[in-house]
């Protein structure tokens, strides 16, 4: 979980990990394999899934077609994976033949996450999935994301709502002005008086 104030470089860090921005120093590894030289597309093939913050669905295509496009790289049968996504997000099964652009904000985010899951990634990266959705929908999205994590997929996520995010995080990174200020378990960060005072409003 990456949290931090506005302009701290959360999304930038995410883009750097995914290869959309060049690294000045350091390496990116995935499951022990050095992927620093790979393009974003190649990283998807290597097992990374990425959900951008905006423009993360194909609006004029149906929900099911969105999922199919998520699995475009795969040559094997993607039907079982589509079924798994529908089990994770039951609402998408009901709306499978509807254009994704016609869905509500929370449902669109579910389509976006579902699309990224279609490559069966080891690591799923979410850039502020709850941006612009209502608090109730946000709670539901968090629940779904926890469920995704339970299926064995690691999740790296940028989140504005620091308190809620840290509550569910195994590891939290608090970025300030482009640098990693605190790293600890979510619970420890929540208990840390410095973090509380500076970023969580006491």
């Amino acid at each position: 979980m990456i949290v931090g104030p506005n302009g701290a470089g959360k999304s930038t860090a995410m883009k750097a990990v995914f290869g959309m921005l060049p690294l000045r120093e350091g390496r990116v590894t995935l499951g022990g394999r050095d992927i620093t030289a790979l393009t974003p597309q190649a990283r998807v093939a290597a097992g990374m899934g990425f959900v951008p913050q905006t423009h993360n669905i194909f609006p004029s295509m149906t929900v099911e077609e969105n999922l199919e496009m998520g699995g475009f790289l795969r040559r094997d049968d993607i039907r079982p994976t589509i079924e798994q996504v529908y089990e994770l997000f039951p609402i998408l099964r009901d709306k499978r033949h509807q254009a994704a652009g016609e869905l509500s904000g929370g449902q669109r985010q579910q389509v976006a996450v579902g699309r990224a899951l279609m490559t069966k990634p080891q690591l799923l990266m979410l850039d502020e999935p709850t941006a612009g959705v209502s608090p109730i929908v946000m709670d539901e999205l968090f629940d779904r994301i926890i469920e995704v994590a339970r299926t064995g997929i690691s999740i790296l996520m940028v989140e504005q709502n620091a308190r809620q995010a840290l509550e569910i995080a195994d590891t939290g990174f608090v970025l300030v002005q482009g640098a990693n200020r605190f790293t600890d378990t979510g619970a420890a960060l929540l208990a840390d008086p410095h973090v509380r005072q500076s970023f969580l409003g006491g």
Binding site: H55, I57, F58, M61, F72
Partner: protein, 301 residues
Amino acid sequence: MAVLRFTNVAHGDTMAFGTMVTILATWGLQSVGITGGPVPTALLALPVGIAATAALLLATDRMVYRFYRQQRASSAILLIVSIGVMFVMNGLVRFIIGVDDQRFDDGSRFLVSARDFKAWSGLDEGLAIKTTQGITVLTAAVVMIALFWFLNRTRTGKSMRAFADNRDLALLSGIDPERVVAITWILVAALATIAGTLYGLDKSFKPFTYFQLLLPIFAAAIVGGLGSPVGAIVGGFIVAFSEVGLTYAWKKVLAYLLPMGLAPDGLAQLLGTEYKNAVSFLILVLVLLIKPTGLFKGTST
């Protein structure tokens, strides 16, 4: 389809090029004694025309459009570029086949001739259906169904729609942009060659006429909504019927519809056929003023 993200004004001349190659291939087939029997030989020559046009378009893309795509040039710049491409294609066609009228239809002229129809139905007026008209309607229907099937049901077609919808996300999903662009050009080649050949069979082939088709093509696309395949079809019918409706000599129709003695003396033609293009232009202006997005909102550039 907004796959290429620009308005290509070279469509008319792409049609002309495809038709020209088809005509040359038709003459080739006829000279070795192969004909299509009752159907025009040109239909047999179509694959040659499509292949040559596809090769030309892919070469043009490699030499011209790819550069601008890599620059992420705006669609306005690409539009201007396509005007240049249009002039080159236009010159190429005139250079190879000349500017004159070419007739290349053979096979039987009529499916239903006026005299046969009168004899069969006992009516006073005849009904004539030219073979080329029948073939045009049939081919248009088949091509349309095939196109929609391709775009909505196949993996490649869906990837093209995804690319048109959200280019960055398509890249993230592993869709190869160069492949999508190449397939789009091949589709353009096939559709333009088929359309041009059918048009040429029904009328005749003259490079300048094809250049002039640009205006009704655009009027149709804009009436229907840019980037919407269904809109293009509906827009095509609207433009075509408006053109014919306003330039048709209604004299005979009115003579039958109106009470005896009220039949007009003149042709009852609202506009001379020379003004056909003005009708397209008028529709274009009206739609842009009243409903610029067209009837069906597509993913416009």
